[in-house]
Symmetry: C2
């Protein structure tokens, strides 16, 4: 090696994922169960999926996040962004550690939870509207990481098209509106919602309708664009005067 690396002791580095979907009319996050062995911290506790960076096989942080995502869900999510880094002396009993948290959105149908191989038991945990996490303790500081991810999601939903990534490829405008309402925890005006979505040129009509027990609804899909759309205004409810 050409350069000397300094004598600083290196922290542990992991990547964790907050993977969200909408199921059963509620926001949900994917949790995995930690192994039940005495030499691992928090045995049997539920945690966000993640783990150590493997500097042999991961060429960068995003690649590591994608690998973990693939291991847990078996799919490529339509949306993956970095949330941030948490590092401290206290957060892991094994020593000074840093975790890079990524934040993924996916349709509920795409998930195939696999318990086996190096993946432990996994489940979707419900996040009630108004709550900032699941109603249980999580391993490490994962409750805090999850709260930050939920806050980011709720914040961005006010002015972006993110909820579209929580739905299956084909959806109706009512379903999209419902996804917004579930995350925001408040009803939106149908008329304003629809003009906003249509003016943004976000979605395109499909030559199909969803038929249920009443008037059929037009099906749409996202226009081919990888980037989410940013609306110029938030969905703020009129203040009482």
């Amino acid at each position: 090696m050409k350069y000397r690396t300094r004598d600083f002791e290196r922290p542990l580095v992991t990547v964790d994922l907050a993977i969200f979907t909408v199921r059963d009319d509620s926001l949900a996050v994917l949790l995995v169960q930690r192994p039940d062995t005495a030499d691992e911290p928090f045995p049997r506790a539920w945690a966000l999926p993640g783990g150590f960076i493997d500097i042999e096989c991961d060429s960068d942080l995003l690649a590591c996040a994608r690998r973990k995502l693939k291991e847990k869900t078996g799919v490529v999510t339509p949306y993956l962004e970095q949330l941030g880094g948490w590092g401290s002396r206290k957060r892991d009993p094994r020593g000074w550690s840093i975790t890079q948290v990524y934040f993924a959105l996916m349709p509920s149908v795409d998930v195939e939870l696999r318990a086996g191989a190096n993946a432990a038991a996994a489940r979707w945990a419900r996040i009630d509207s108004g709550a900032d996490g699941v109603g249980e303790k999580l391993a490490f500081d994962h409750a805090g990481l999850l709260a930050a991810a939920v806050a980011r999601l709720r914040g961005k939903v006010e002015y972006t098209s993110l909820p579209a990534y929580l739905l299956p490829e084909e959806f109706t405008l009512s379903e999209l509106q419902r996804a917004y309402e579930i995350i925001l925890g408040r009803p939106l005006e149908k008329s304003a919602f629809r003009t906003r979505v249509e003016d943004a040129n976000l979605v395109e009509k499909l030559p199909r309708q969803r038929r249920t027990t009443n008037r059929p609804a037009q099906l749409y899909r996202l226009r081919e664009r990888s980037e989410p759309f940013f609306f110029p205004r938030t969905f703020s409810p009129r203040e009482a005067s």
Copy 2:
């Protein structure tokens, strides 16, 4: 130690800072010069200030960022937020490395650049409006980190009160508007700007005026609030129709 840590090799971890101010009617970022020794990469190149985490003395990432900030500028900045983490096998010739980048805003007057002790030569580098960085090569991938920081700053300035942190404690509304214009690279409407700022209850009048060669301007300061204000709409210019 109670737990076994796994056999993964640990990456190098650093914290870097993008410290912005407004000076000479322009946005500027603080750069430091790397040491001129053969066992350090990028000798004499300019870089964002930063360095290795010291897990002996830094209790968490933010503390580490604050320590580096203090070392470089000698002040506590009024605004410091995490920008994100960059990690890859290639970004540092010494091996797989991660940097956590923080993003600070400060008034120009507060800075006292110190070359000496463990701080190398330092200077403010101008960022022209429209450009995504300084017009020169930087060490490591710092040009990319800086471009991301500038993009985040420009994006947030559209809908937040961040530019107020770039000004000295007392300022006029014209100076605040000018800070917005410098970062956004376009003029704003004076009337709309003033009503927006006043309606947000962001600033408070001081019993003083700034006297120059013409009509004196009312001086204001930020109301005591640590959090930046988020406006419900962006400053988007009317589209040509």
